[in-house]
Subunit: 355 residues, 3 copies
């Protein structure tokens, strides 16, 4: 019996709800589910509820939590199951309940729950990309090997925090020592030392459909980061004393040269296949590859997200220039998810679109 | 009798026209009114008419002016009233006829005309934001207090002109003396000396609906400024001798991290409430808060526009990722305005949507 | 007999196909033709076919080529004619078959084939702009005249390669000598030495409609270039040793201040008129002017594309904020082309929309 069959057992396919945690990309997921005519459940911490209460038409049930950790509690799990809820995971899930509890959550998830563990470790993440045959930046085994510009990332660095740049072994060592002193890491080996690829960032959004047996390209974005994207507006004499930071504040839309799209699709498909091999579970739902495009038009992937990225919020309601190649209707990721779940339910194949 | 009731007296609610001055955001306002099936009137200076004459389907009446100041003339006012016209004010109105005449214009305005006076003075503007409890950059009382990076703004600085950066009392003084010499100001105290918040700019677009009793978030943008957004493309050895300027040339779309949206909405709502207290008139229609988002995800608002901003032109015809959370149809600000006016007219509540 | 009448002779107006070469903007052109209900033909090199094979619903016929040069072969030309195919040219056509063969291709082209020759030479290109009365950067006759910042462009520089910046006669000479050594040019006089206008880039998309007798503004974009748009994210101490490159990787959407639109439209119209004078053939279809907007809001055009630019890919499926001013339906350039061809066929005027 597959994990999908076990976890949706007892569910009424005619009364499926889409459940989401109130942050990150919840609004577009709710709006997408409503557009597909599905019931929606919002799990939200009390202090954040007022955002969603301004959009009461987007949810049928709001489950207020005193703390995020309640997501994995028996009461909430039971409630979700009684509502025939399928949870759409975003970055919040693992952040709020931890890898262990996310993996074992007794609620059907539209996504591959085997990826949570891999995503929690920078080294496993990079290995997955390499195994998929996707070009990645060089990873240095130790500060001593550093012979060019590198970016050093602490584990669990989120939203752009916990990074630093360096260009010599000495600089890397000093940065790691500081990170240990500041309690960001306990052992310098927890950090990953990656070649800093010079080029421009581009983030690709995918959707792995089990019903359509394909990986769709649903959009792209560029991150808008504070303060680095503001520093460039300052004359050098003012900017030079300020240290850049890379905290993601928002996203800007983009399209890529058509000649690069084949590679982008192939990398996305190779990723999905490799995830299936690595986890033993099917890949499904939204995910993202995060790349630098070099001047020789190479795509080097330095990061991935095994679930929906916030950059997809750009396409709420309208879809992106890429979704219109697949659909003759506005199809943003939040709606795409609901479409897949709804069609699976209609076809009696719910167990295929969850893990 | 409310100002609204007085100013629309004699209007035929079944034959309302939307009037707009031909510049800034006129095209999207006209297109929105036509989409809602309303009659439209365009007030335009002869030399600019050729732009709009390329879109004759967007207006029912074009009133050509020899000079902008005719807007406030008896002939035009009478004509507008005879057409049952409601004027949608944008930056052009006060710029072309001045605060006094804009305030007293005997034509219904979809917006709060009490804001014109406040907007004309940098100090009153900042005070309004502070009164609303919205975090703002520190304002320095005199050059002597300056202890970090500051931006000095001349009154009525528009489209990015009349700003300069400085980082010491001496630099501020020198800049102000130059501004006096160049006739930009008569007294250094007319300028405002503001902390330069380091982060990234983000501009939020709102719509205050009286019929729906809510403030809607209609979109966001980043300004595209000449030459500052071009200088960053030059190697430092070429760029260092060029002084940056901040003239707004256009706008780029963006979305913000969902976790920041509650604050953005709360600030927008607090702004609307405070405007009502400060002016004694209801807030209504489009407006904008202009912010820097810091690396710690604080939003610091350094400016506002009490009426539609040109950044909303990004969403003409399609709406933004945020309007689709409220509407199941494309709803850009120009159409939103017309929808409100049309519904108010149908409900016999026209007086509520004008001042 | 016009070139149009001659080249479509024998075509069945009820069975017209839109043909496109598989790269650049093929996806949006195919999607647009399908939206208009037209038959589509894709010409594609075998190794690139897998991209399009992921979208089989977008084409009725895929003609696979072993090499691009087959496009101009008798077999393919005959096949295209037998399918009543009208070719939509993009940058790929001249790049793949050369100017001579593109000019003489015995297949109807929706565009002005007289432009191919002009576009192949930087000096003729700039002369056309000057003849149209469009403000352009100063062109220097020789390195000796250089008295400010200049950009030096090699002939056929594509996608941002083959450019360099300089600010003195000596630097220009050294750069040209290097270009000769590297085989980019044979004679330094093949390069064009252009004033580097300081401001921000903006690319305007037009569509010249013969049926509607007008030039439509269909959108705008900013190019996203590697590595120059990434360098600005590096602290100066890391960036200063890296040479910027300007390879186009993608595009970002923008809108322009409304007060600049009249100029943008006038320049676009003047361009179309001048092309007709210079080539003796009607201007038709998509094209682009590529400009810098200065802080004094002057628009200086430094380049053009006589056919569709890849920046229009931004608007696939949804149209741009500008297309909605003309149409009450989503109208991206790919669809606009098909609409014109379809309407011309229906009206028995096919010969007017091809050369």
């Amino acid at each position: 019996m597959s994990i999908g069959s076990r976890i949706v057992s007892g569910y009424d396919p005619e009364r499926i709800c889409i459940a989401v945690i109130g942050s990150h990309s919840a609004l577009q997921i709710l709006a997408g589910a409503k557009r597909e005519g599905l019931c929606t459940v919002l799990l939200v911490r009390e202090d954040l509820a007022p955002l969603y209460e301004r959009f009461p038409w987007l949810y049928d049930y709001m489950l207020k939590l005193r703390s995020w950790s309640e997501i994995a509690s028996g009461t909430i799990v039971e409630k979700l199951r009684s509502l025939n809820a399928i949870l759409v995971p975003h970055a919040g899930l693992v952040e709020y309940v931890g890898v262990e509890r996310a993996e074992k959550l007794e609620v059907p998830i539209h996504g591959n729950r085997g990826l949570f563990r891999i995503e929690a470790d920078q080294h496993s993440k990079m290995r997955l990309l390499v195994d998929a045959g996707i070009p990645t930046p060089r990873v240095y085994g130790s500060p001593e090997e550093v012979d060019g510009l590198v970016i050093v990332k602490m584990p669990g660095a989120k939203g752009g925090r916990g990074y630093f740049l360096a260009s010599s072994p000495e600089e890397v060592r000093r940065g790691l020592e500081r990170a240990v002193r500041e309690g960001l890491i306990r052992d310098p080996r927890e950090a990953i030392i990656q070649e800093y690829v010079v080029g421009v960032p581009a983030y690709y959004h995918y959707y792995a459909s089990r019903l359509y047996r394909r990986v769709e390209l649903t959009g792209m974005d560029i991150r808008y980061e504070s303060n680095v994207d503001g520093l460039r507006r300052l004359p050098p004499r003012f900017a030079e004393s300020l240290e850049p930071s890379f905290v993601v504040v928002g996203n800007i839309p983009m399209v890529l040269r058509e000649r690069l799209l084949l590679k982008v699709l192939e990398y996305g498909e190779a990723f999905a296949r490799t995830v299936e091999q690595a986890t033993g579970l099917p890949m499904m739902g939204p995910y993202s590859l995060e790349s630098i495009v070099t001047p020789s038009l190479e795509i080097r992937v330095f990061e991935f997200s095994g679930r929906i990225v916030a950059g997809t919020n750009l396409y709420t309601g309208m879809g992106s220039p890429y979704t219109w190649l697949y659909w003759d209707e506005p199809m943003w990721p939040g709606r795409r998810i609901a479409r897949e779940v709804r069609e699976a339910a209609l076809q009696g194949r719910l167990e295929e679109v969850v893990t």
